[in-house]
């Protein structure tokens, strides 16, 4: 029976026995797949054809399509199926697909969601986005052109995201006279490449999206082809969620449901495995165990729930459990760690900055993370591993990352939910990268925090003061060191234990290996922040005088310190004034190009939005500013 018959029979069933049809539709499963290929490989045409053949196009849409085909179509008087799916007005004018678009169609057995992924090099991020939710990938090849650089890139990306079902659709067979020799040569060529990057298997099909060969019906033009049609294949491959159901139980907690004192439930989407009332579970990272008592839904309690279901679990004990925790099988829990090797796909115009703190969101956990300089980046056209200092837009690389709190995780290859993450820029809030955890690093597992008997409170109490970090920030020559020095003298005079960390001085020792690139500036501030933290642990009042141009790093240092310990002092001197003073002659050098990456000239300064102190040096004398800071500090904290 061909698929054409199926469509006819489906229509007949709808007309004659709607209840039977609904019963059938109700039990359909769902397959999500992506189509990728180069610009002119015919992706949109293929998807348009699938919609058309599965009767997902209505008469009015068809009329519009026929009109549009004549006006802007590229197929002469024939229907241009691509116009059905090329959505945004801007794209229709340019004739290219620039963003992931999602389409839907049904067959007798399944509902399909297709992510239409663009073929342009600069839109790798869209392809990775589309692939992340896909069970299967259809890689399109133009039979006239064979395996191209883009084919290799798309295949690599699909493999990287972990898509196991790969379909090689050799399209436009009508334009090579349905020649089996052409088809076989392309398949052989592709097989060689696939093996080299670790793709274990794929299914190859000769098709024509334009003419409809081997899409829903077996084509009379390819009698030499014995395999399934594209739709047959899509209807029968195994979906990801059924694979996930066989793994150990894990559910990241999204939300604690507490309508009243008598009910406490933990809501989440089951990532892998299944759960029943009576199951022994473990809450991570705390490691506390309990037993599932109920699986609650609006309709009724469930006897069992499996991967892919959103549920609410009740537990026998009052265990501490909140958003971000993971409920797992008691005797087979995932691990927690804070240092990892990860594969990153950079998605933003602003390149990755090693050492900068980003937000990392993995399942329902959000932590602060820093990324090391990449070990290597992958040239997605040649699969070569190359050395790199950073990751630019669309770059794929491997790097070590460190989080500020332990993360409950599994390797991405074992669990997409507990191994896949995004990075978010703390200032712009943009999603800047997608990542996959490969493994945790041993040093994170083996270096434990040593508990010490003399606490930071004890250090501070002996000095009869509260530790602080007075963080002076501002342009070069703004007066940071001058004012910091005056503040320290005043504090010292009243018997406070202080220490001043000066930018120039630190660069003579601790940080003499660092330059002035953005990455080195971040590392400079990170080290100073850590040193300042150790000094506050020792009970000192620390003063720092660094340009510290980036908000993100100042925020990072703030989060290192205890609440209220970090005092941001913005020495606000306009660039013209600082440049006119030019105490060290640096501005002159920067203006004449002898000094690169100079803040205010060719490197940005991000002024604090809400500093604790703002000193306008054009209106306030350094002595007065120092006096004001000291008075207010002593007023704030009488024990200083």
């Amino acid at each position: 029976m061909t698929s054409g018959d199926v469509i006819y029979q489906t229509e007949a069933l709808i007309a004659e026995d709607i209840d039977a049809y609904l019963e059938q539709h109700q039990h359909k499963t769902m397959l999500r797949f992506i189509t990728c290929g180069s610009v002119d490989d015919g992706k949109s045409t293929l998807i348009g054809r699938l919609l058309y053949d599965s009767k997902m196009i209505f008469e009015d849409q068809l009329t519009a399509l026929e009109n549009d085909s004549k006006k802007v179509g590229t197929q002469g008087q024939e229907i241009d199926f691509a116009l059905l799916v090329d959505g945004l007005a801007a794209e229709r004018e340019q004739g290219i697909t620039i963003d992931v678009a999602y389409r839907f169609f049904n067959t007798e057995k399944r509902k399909f969601i297709v992510a239409d992924c663009p073929g342009h090099e600069q839109y790798t991020r869209n392809m990775v986005t589309g692939a992340s939710t896909a069970d299967l990938a259809v890689i399109l090849i133009d039979a006239r052109k064979g395996v191209l650089v883009q084919t290799r890139r798309h295949s690599y990306l699909c493999h990287l995201i972990g898509i196991k079902n790969i379909v090689l659709a050799v399209n436009k067979m009508d334009l090579v006279d349905y020649d089996p020799v052409v088809f076989d040569a392309i398949v052989k060529d592709y097989a060689e490449f696939a093996r080299s990057i670790g793709i274990e298997s794929f299914t190859a099909l000769p098709i024509s999206g334009f003419k409809g060969d081997n899409i829903t019906t077996r084509s009379a033009n390819t009698p030499w082809y014995k395999g399934p049609t594209l739709v047959d294949h899509l209807e029968t491959v195994e979906v990801l969620s059924s694979v996930d159901a066989d793994k150990p139980f894990r559910m990241p907690v999204q939300w604690v449901n507490r309508p009243n004192l008598d009910f406490r439930g933990f809501s989440g989407l089951i990532a892998t495995g299944s759960v029943k009332p009576g199951d022994e579970i473990r809450v991570l990272p705390s490691g506390k165990t309990s037993t599932v008592t109920r699986i609650v839904t609006l309709d009724s309690d469930l006897d069992q729930a499996v991967a892919g279901q959103s549920v609410t679990l009740c537990l026998a004990d009052e265990v501490d459990c909140s958003r971000g925790d993971v409920i797992s099988l008691a005797d087979n829990p995932p691990q927690a760690a804070d240092q990892f090797e990860a594969t990153l796909v950079w998605l933003n115009d602003e390149a990755m900055l090693p050492g900068r703190a980003y937000w990392l969101k993995l399942a329902t956990q959000t932590v602060s993370v820093t990324v090391q300089q990449p070990k290597y980046v992958v040239n997605v056209n040649t699969m070569e591993q190359l050395a790199a200092k950073t990751l630019e837009l669309n770059a794929i690389g491997v790097a070590e990352i460190a989080t500020d709190k332990p993360l409950v995780f599994e390797a991405y290859g074992d669990n997409r939910t507990l191994g896949g993450f995004v990075l978010i820029d703390k200032m712009s809030n943009a999603t800047v990268a997608a990542g996959m955890l490969n493994f945790s690093l041993r040093r994170a597992q083996n270096v434990h925090w040593q508990a010490l008997d003399i606490s930071r409170d004890a250090h501070a109490a002996l000095k009869r003061q509260k530790p602080k970090v007075l963080w002076f920030t501002g342009l070069s020559g703004s007066g940071k060191s001058t004012i910091a020095n005056m503040v320290e003298k005043r504090l010292h005079a009243v018997g406070k234990h202080t220490f001043l960390l000066d930018g120039d001085n630190v660069r003579h020792g601790l940080n003499k290996d660092l330059g002035f690139t953005e990455a080195d500036r971040i590392e400079n501030i990170r080290r100073v922040g850590e040193v300042a933290k150790l000094m506050t642990d020792a009970g000192l009042i620390v003063l720092t005088a660094f340009i510290s141009p980036f908000r993100a790093e100042r925020e990072m240092v703030r989060t290192l310190m205890a609440e209220g310990e970090f005092v941001e002092i913005f020495v606000d001197t306009p660039l013209e004034v600082a440049e006119a003073r030019d105490v060290k002659g640096l501005y002159k050098k920067a203006r004449t190009g002898q000094l690169k990456n100079f803040t205010g000239i060719d490197s940005p300064y991000e002024a604090p939005e809400k500093p604790d102190f703002r000193i306008d040096t054009t209106r306030e004398k350094p002595e007065d500013a120092a006096e004001r800071i000291v008075n207010e500090l002593l007023g704030w904290a009488p024990t200083i």
Partner: protein
């Protein structure tokens, strides 16, 4: 129960929508659910009740009213708000009310003022930072490319070229100052999925979706229902010729903007049957998409229409 391991497509869609709603509640400060009383809104409300049961959904319902909805819609709206235990906020743009904006005299200005402007005003008034909407990607071409978490600028504009990538089921809900989020939990549902879900879960919907003999009139080539004849007469300036016909509605908006179809489908399976066998697409009954040629909805959205 032989193959419990593989969820059906509706189970997966339901689970996805619930997951999205819970993420918003966990990460947004002041969420709201837009409620238009149509069938998609009905499904959204049902999903919200499922997502947070036994708690009531922890956000209010917002109806941006045009004063031109069908009487049956107002009745169901009030009933569902009571039943769900949720707060119902109704907002009507005071400027549109004052100028007596109506669909007959003012054409697309009616939608602009009551809906687009009304929505912006309501979101600003209550300071909502995340609004659930029932839009689906299968409805219209520009929707097919919209993210599930779709960001709007302080002036509620949409920038299709600058959308955040959405990977796996990880949603980045962090906003910049002044930004707000539209969240579309049923993005991946089709019209058939909506009907099937209503059927399986007995979700209450407005009776106008089912065929009945109703007073109708013809206007500018379309078939409409005379829901409030005196008011209709006032704005039209004449008494339209009323014919009793067996009709129903495929979508529900403002009654003069929503065309009726002649039908005898009185039960849900019959409605679904008719929907599947019909050859005109769902939104055809709505006048709004035809403005500005093929790019109607995209332009409207950049201006802030939901």
């Amino acid at each position: 129960m032989a193959d419990r391991q593989t969820l059906t497509h509706l189970e997966r869609l339901e689970s996805e929508a619930i997951h999205i709603m819970r993420e918003v509640v966990a990460e947004a400060t002041n969420p709201v659910m837009l409620y238009s009383v149509g069938k998609d809104s009905a499904v959204m409300l049902h999903l919200a009740r499922k997502a947070f049961y036994p708690s009531p959904p922890p956000f209010p319902l917002l109806h941006v009213d045009t004063t031109w909805k069908f009487q049956d819609m107002y009745a169901l709206r009030d009933k569902m708000a009571t039943e769900s235990g949720m707060e119902l906020l109704v907002y009507q743009n005071p400027e549109a009310a004052e100028k007596e904006i109506n669909p007959f005299d003012h054409g697309s200005l009616h939608t602009d003022m009551w809906k687009t402007e009304g929505l912006k005003q309501a979101l600003d008034k209550y300071g909502f930072d995340a609004a659930f909407g029932g839009a689906r990607r299968d409805e219209e071409k520009s929707r097919a490319k919209e993210r599930i978490f779709s960001f709007r600028t302080a002036s509620h504009g949409w920038d299709p070229k600058n959308q955040r990538p959405e990977l796996w089921n990880l949603y980045n809900a962090r906003k910049n100052k002044g930004e707000s989020i539209r969240v579309f939990p049923i993005s991946n549902w089709t019209e058939l999925d909506i009907w099937q879900y209503i059927h399986l879960n007995n979700v209450p919907i407005v009776p106008l979706y089912f065929a009945d003999v109703r007073p109708t009139f013809e206007w500018e080539g379309g078939l409409f229902m005379a829901d409030d004849l005196p008011r209709l007469e006032k704005v039209l300036g004449y008494r339209p010729e009323i014919t009793e016909r067996s009709i129903r509605f495929r979508t529900l908006g403002c009654f003069p903007l929503t065309g009726a179809v002649e039908s005898t489908a009185k039960t849900l399976p019959e409605v679904i049957q008719e929907t599947l066998l019909t050859t005109t697409s769902e939104r055809q009954g709505r006048v709004i998409d035809k403005d500005a040629g093929g790019a109607g909805m995209e332009v409207k959205k950049q201006q802030g229409y939901f």
